[in-house]
Symmetry: D2
Subunit: 273 residues, 4 copies
Amino acid sequence: MVSPDPRMPHGYSLPLSPHGTASLVPAPPWHYVGDFLVIEYWADPDAVAAVLPEGLEPFGEDPGRAAALFVDWQSCSEGGGELADPVRSQYREFFIVVNAMLDGELVTSCPYIWVDQPFALMRGWIQGFPKKLGSVWLTRTFGLECRADPGLAPGATFAGTLAAGDRRLAQGSVTLEQLSERGPTHNDPRLVNVRHFPRLAAGHHGSPAVHELVGGVSRDRAISAIWEGSATLELFDAPNEEHAALAPVRVGRGFRFSFAYTVDDLETLRDLV
Amino acid sequence: MVSPDPRMPHGYSLPLSPHGTASLVPAPPWHYVGDFLVIEYWADPDAVAAVLPEGLEPFGEDPGRAAALFVDWQSCSEGGGELADPVRSQYREFFIVVNAMLDGELVTSCPYIWVDQPFALMRGWIQGFPKKLGSVWLTRTFGLECRADPGLAPGATFAGTLAAGDRRLAQGSVTLEQLSERGPTHNDPRLVNVRHFPRLAAGHHGSPAVHELVGGVSRDRAISAIWEGSATLELFDAPNEEHAALAPVRVGRGFRFSFAYTVDDLETLRDLV
Amino acid sequence: MVSPDPRMPHGYSLPLSPHGTASLVPAPPWHYVGDFLVIEYWADPDAVAAVLPEGLEPFGEDPGRAAALFVDWQSCSEGGGELADPVRSQYREFFIVVNAMLDGELVTSCPYIWVDQPFALMRGWIQGFPKKLGSVWLTRTFGLECRADPGLAPGATFAGTLAAGDRRLAQGSVTLEQLSERGPTHNDPRLVNVRHFPRLAAGHHGSPAVHELVGGVSRDRAISAIWEGSATLELFDAPNEEHAALAPVRVGRGFRFSFAYTVDDLETLRDLV
Amino acid sequence: MVSPDPRMPHGYSLPLSPHGTASLVPAPPWHYVGDFLVIEYWADPDAVAAVLPEGLEPFGEDPGRAAALFVDWQSCSEGGGELADPVRSQYREFFIVVNAMLDGELVTSCPYIWVDQPFALMRGWIQGFPKKLGSVWLTRTFGLECRADPGLAPGATFAGTLAAGDRRLAQGSVTLEQLSERGPTHNDPRLVNVRHFPRLAAGHHGSPAVHELVGGVSRDRAISAIWEGSATLELFDAPNEEHAALAPVRVGRGFRFSFAYTVDDLETLRDLV
């Protein structure tokens, strides 16, 4: 235990400081709520297999199964202080998950993810989400019947877009048809990712300090009614990116809903070092 | 009439182009929907008088009456295409209005306003809003009962913040108490602003090409239920800014609601050149 | 003359204010210095003709002649105060110019231009530059021989990129070969643009308040040594943009140099309303 | 060694990918060149002692000695590809260093640092720099005698500013007097920082996965002539920040120069877990 020593700079994450209040990522729990666009799709099975970390096997029954998610988030730590200074609370996110098997259990894994705020970037690395910074936008609804609001009704279209490095990397949409009975399934299994932190010492660049298979843990989940409809999805190639190898060969259903949960735990499944 | 000549570059605003589709601001109508935080307050009456344009007189009955508004907007032009590419549709805004008299009619006037998107900046200048670019954030609600969502209920606090030029310029909050019967009044009278476009020819820098008193016109207005409660407001001084002269001497009630309207008209009240 | 009345809100541009210091664009003169990448090229002659404003004729002798410019600017108004708060002083810019004839004189005209700061956006509209906001980046040199600096020497490559609306819109490069004797010529003739400010009154959307052919005026020009070499240029299509119609059919020479000037005048050549 | 297995997603940092080209931070070496403003100053000695990590002792001889640095960087990895896409190459940085003793050796340590690009943020964490994202600006010189360029000459003023979380956090300036014989000394000793990566498993939030005292290693250093002069420095308090406790009690000399180096090593001095 390092941080509790009040005579030393402390805090959950860098920067450590005398009062422990300067951390880029404050201590858990982290409370989240957000609006989701989920697009179920299938990528090339070989491309899916190529992004699976050590320890995961392809999902033989349906090996290209994937989903793309655009999320409009608001989050805070225990005190809730970020809600009163929302520049430290809100962010938007795009990510891809693929299905895989871990010791006979169906799981999802996230090979690529972008957010538009630095606290979310670093919070992701701590959880094993391989986050980069990008620009993400989602169509919103405000609950008024008017021309600028698609509304939550059959025929309404909600779009999501992602750019990073000054290039458009992804765009998708969901056109609502009806309330959904089942909700999305491609992104439903437990998330299993790689937590990874590199080493810089000469001769050890290939030996990360942290490299482990981790399983997501959450609690206090809440969800709204789920709308379902047809969907589109495009992934665009770019330098310094490989997500376009996971471009859809077939697009399935799309979903829109709101979801909340709390995170203050993570399970290490396997040390990969 | 200039733009209709299809052989010439055309469009509603610059850049004019062969197909007329490159304009920073597309042609009206402009449809809007947004979430509002309205904070009624009183500034120093002399400071209010000092920002009134030619043609407006102080509101003698209550000469310091003002309001501060944070708004989270989504907007589109007639085709609605911006909703499918929301980086061109959404923006956030902070502005101050003061009350004044125009020929015996109670009106409001907007001396200072900031938005976070360039299309909204220029659309504002076309309407007589003196927009600058800034960074505006508002607490949001997502309709789920959870720790990251203040909810629409007594005790919930919604905050707004403004920065520009890398400085915090304003922050305020509204803590909900109850549904409001009257709604806000300080910002209710018709908006009367100055439309202004400078001249650069040597010797004519003080003779703007456009300088006129204009009255806002809108249609197809819709509004949600209005929540009301206590409020806070701070305005901070900064180089290249004068809004802090309108800092509150007394803060009144705060309001939160959603509002939609359409704009495709403007009334010129008086040419000030 | 409007602004000198010290009892009224005044200033060169919106927002007008009691002390006249809040204007988004301060009063001229505007002093500029910047690093330039100029790429001479030829576009499809029909595409060039299609972007010429009323009053300009194609340059018959070489009708597709154009240039693309990436510029890394620092600017200030008379007091120079922006240099001490450089967030209000620096910006980057990409623009295209095409050659044309005006009453027998060879001129250039700028159909499309992007900058990354709002004061530069609005300053452009006042001058007749049809500016939009974008993200522009240019390779820099720092004068040290090292791996992170291309240096000013044969073989060094300087790149420029433009994005707007979360899409890459242009990229180009110049690989230095030698000091240039002639310097660039495609962008050399006087700039003739359209100053344009729309009207919002119903029934008058096609009748801009300002619509005039203007000729650029500058003074106190200074220039560094000019490097010259081979060049590349790509323009990418995007929604809400038409610049890609001016994509190169042939790319010529590229140039890199520093340039300074002062602007406080503009010549109206013809009223187009 | 994990990454070399070509059948697994690999790369130096997250995201790991089939071809190893998607990493937010590419593999070392990292080559840097930048323009520096260094402001030597003295903070309250107790405040300096309070930010020293375990293992460092106050510098008894001059216990408040510190420096503030604004840097305008360009960097690339071995291939140099970032120079051709400069959005991935350039960033600006502000940081504070304080002097301290490590086993009898005079060192510097960096308690607080901000950069404006995500690759630099994460590259910092890998090196033990406690980086947050901010907005940093520095006055530039372009080598032309003109009104928009302070020039490198006696009397020229160069400013630096920092904002984060939509608040101004620091500003400083250096007014050149003469070429410097000694150069800055407060920031000269070797950098000793804390490399730190948290744990999220419940019950272990106070037990970071990585927590070690590290010493910076660099090579291939190059430096320009150094200008020296008078200086100013202000640090501003803000929520979620503690740097203002290190505000100057006395400001010393300021320096401006360009500097380049390469980093591909780091020395672990002590494991602090």
